[in-house]
Amino acid sequence: MTKTVFLGALTVAGLTAGAAAAATLDDVKARGTLNCGVTTGLVGFAAPDANGEWGGFDVGVCRAVAAAVLGDPTAVEFVPTTGKTRFTALASGEIDMLARNTTWTFSRDVDLKFEFTGINYYDGQGFMVPKELGVSSAKELDGATVCIQTGTTTELNLADYFRKNNISYQPVPIETNAEGQQQYLAGACDTYTTDASGLAATRAAFEDPSEHVILPEIVSKEPLGPLVRHGDNEWGDVVRWTLNALIAAEERGVTSANIAELAAAPTESPEINRLLGTEGNLGEMLGLEADWAVKAISAGGNYGELFEKNIGENTPVGLARGLNAQWTEGGLLYAPPFR
């Protein structure tokens, strides 16, 4: 009899475990908040402000998803994760999605069983050095001490780059961006390497950013994007198409300023109508309200607005659109059609 009870308990445990793995969309709706994994603090991408309110480019994606699913961009529980803890947090279900400048790689997608839902920032790994060192190229960094965030793709790129160029270096592994900044400023390492966007964001927080230069070499491709657990395709679709909605909205000229007007009645552009739910039933197909995209775009604006507000050229981070411009303007952003 003990055996039967035991097997029964096993079955129940197995079933609950199986159930927990699927239907994230229902879980989020039932919970009323979205658990979104972000960095522990990177100005421009995800960082709490003086009032403890999270803001930034990645945070904008979380808020858009929360607005699309729950109708409330503030219904987000932000979970700060380090480069090391992020995948465990996502795989274990502690967070529903991860928007933490995470590079889309084959092994993460296939072997670690995650699903990247798109790319919200095309990045590449760069090096920052103090101006006084007089270094103008990464190839001159022979023998340098390099600060590097551990558990990231940059760690592997760094080893590859130095080996390929037959120069040596000494790595100083660090856990968080803040730690890297501190070590770099104290001179414990000669150069700090991470994604170029991250370097720009870090430099923006320095007392005197002009004392530091970002070297011209970009040593790797770093397509950054939000990701979810493998195997829950409905939830993956929600996150993917929310991101696409933000990108398509910029392409079609839908902004947080004019969206109320455009969504009030069907416009002449059928794609805008389908996107904003005044025509067709795209929202229903996703399992969301018809005006899901309206809410997502109203949350923080379209992709371009989020970019300009958080990391654009008029912010301290000061990044140019570059590869992250719409395809119509020579960039790589290309949202699939809404139909």
Binding site: F6, A9, L10, A13, G14, A17, G18, A21, G83, K84, F87, T88, A91, S107, R108, D111, L112, K113, E132, L133, L141, D142, G143, A144, T145, T150, G151, E155, L156, L158, A159, D160, F162, R163, Y169, Q170, P171, V172, P173, I174, E175, Q182, Q183, A186, G187, A188, C189, D190, H230, G231
Partner: protein, 404 residues
């Protein structure tokens, strides 16, 4: 069958399992065992089930693949093309290195502080009490961070050593204290140099042989040979003679500023120093208390009797009190050594690449093999801890009370 005439046996009843004291303990132990096995089986099958649901499997194949990352301190040859297994091995050696250094230093600090806590000098006594209380009651992670931050913030960067009017200069022209660590000269040994080292090792053995002979002579004949200066002579003179006769075969390679860093010499990483000293002073405070307790546990009559025989205070301590105190000190000392080894896993806080940093950190992250890596990590710490307590238990057996 019924023809046998055995004495009538009390028939075994099921209730006896609970009521009979002969069986009761077995019953409970058996139940506990079943529960334990059931709990483990439940956890294990839950794990297997969840892994299956997530489409994952348990495999150690990743250990053979190239690691693709670099490690800042490795005692064996290693580069980014080496396997994850080798990276783990580098981590193991780094853990053992810092644990070894910290155990030795903590023991020295602990014994000195423990003895001084019983000093007759009020100031010394109170200073040591202050040390013990301050260091014992602040978490070791905080101490690691404090020492590391002081090192990186206070020490000069290598670039400060550059130029004619440099802000910092090397001590004695051979030691550089930088915020990346300490650079010191490295002895270069050619085959003749190894001979000098061999002579020195032989001298050490010779010194112990002499001391043993002197003690034996004292016990056998009562003749007292001098101990101090002959030991020193035996230790140093042959090695120095060999060094000069063989034509100074050992050279020192001095660290020199070149490029971004000092080159040549030995670099002791700042993270190693921070971890080493933090573990040593933190655990030293615990050991000091053990030593004090051990000494105070030796009956006062022992000290008084030794004094009555005319032994001087130093000899009372060395010959009478400490040998007896050791019996009490050793067992808790073992657990302090184990603590040092396990606490060394905080290394990642300062970027020291121990086993938790390589296998449990970067390898785990880059391969995503969390369960495999953590199981291996547990196995390693278990083996190391059991080995340390095994060795210390052997030592404990040699000093414990020999009952006759």
């Amino acid at each position: 069958m019924t023809t046998m005439t055995d004495p009538p046996k009390a028939s075994f009843k099921l209730s006896m399992l609970l009521n009979d004291t002969r069986y009761r303990s077995y019953t409970f132990q058996f139940i506990a065992l079943i529960l334990l096995i059931a709990a483990m089986a439940y956890l294990g099958s839950n794990l297997a089930q969840n892994l299956r649901d997530a489409g994952l499997n348990i495999s150690y194949d990743f250990l053979g693949e190239p690691s693709n990352y670099d490690i800042n301190q490795s005692l064996i040859e290693y580069d980014s093309r080496s396997s994850h297994w080798r990276a783990s091995l580098v981590g193991v050696l780094n853990t053992l290195l810092v644990a070894f250094l910290a155990c030795i230093t903590a023991t020295i600090i602990g014994v000195v502080a423990g003895v001084l806590r019983l000093s007759n000098n009020w100031l010394v006594r109170k200073l040591m009490a202050g040390y013990v209380e301050a260091f014992r009651n602040v978490p070791v992670l905080i101490w690691i961070l404090i020492i590391y931050t002081i090192m990186t913030a206070v020490m000069p960067a290598p670039r400060d050593f550059r130029g004619d009017d440099a802000e910092a200069s090397m001590i004695l022209g051979s030691f550089a204290f930088t915020n990346r660590g300490v650079y010191m000269p490295k002895p270069l040994l050619d085959p003749l140099g190894w001979m000098v080292v061999g002579v020195f090792v032989a001298s050490i053995i010779g010194m112990f042989a002499y001391r043993r002979y002197a003690t034996k002579l004292l016990y056998d004949t009562g003749k007292l040979l001098p101990m101090g200066w002959p030991s020193l002579v035996i230790l140093f003179v042959p090695a120095i003679l060999a060094f000069f006769i063989l034509g100074r075969p050992i050279e020192l390679e001095y660290p020199e500023l070149g490029g971004f860093n000092f080159n040549g010499g030995i670099q002791v990483l700042g993270s190693l120093i921070a971890l080493w000293f933090a573990l040593a002073i933190y655990t030293g405070a615990f050991i000091a208390e053990n030593v004090r307790a051990g000494i105070q546990a030796v009956s006062r009559g022992q000290t008084e009797a030794a004094a009555a025989l005319g032994l001087r205070p130093r000899r009372v301590m060395n010959l009478v009190v400490l040998p007896q105190a050791l019996r009490i000190i050793i067992p808790p000392l073992i657990s302090n050594y184990l603590n040092i080894t396990k606490n060394s896993s905080l290394a990642i806080a300062v970027g020291y690449m121990d086993i938790t940093g390589t296998l449990g950190g970067i390898t785990l992250n880059q391969t995503g093999r969390a369960i495999e890596a953590v199981l291996l990590l547990m196995l390693f710490y278990l083996v190391i801890s059991l080995a340390i307590s095994g060795v210390m238990n052997v030592y404990n057996n040699t000093v414990r009370l020999k009952e006759r």
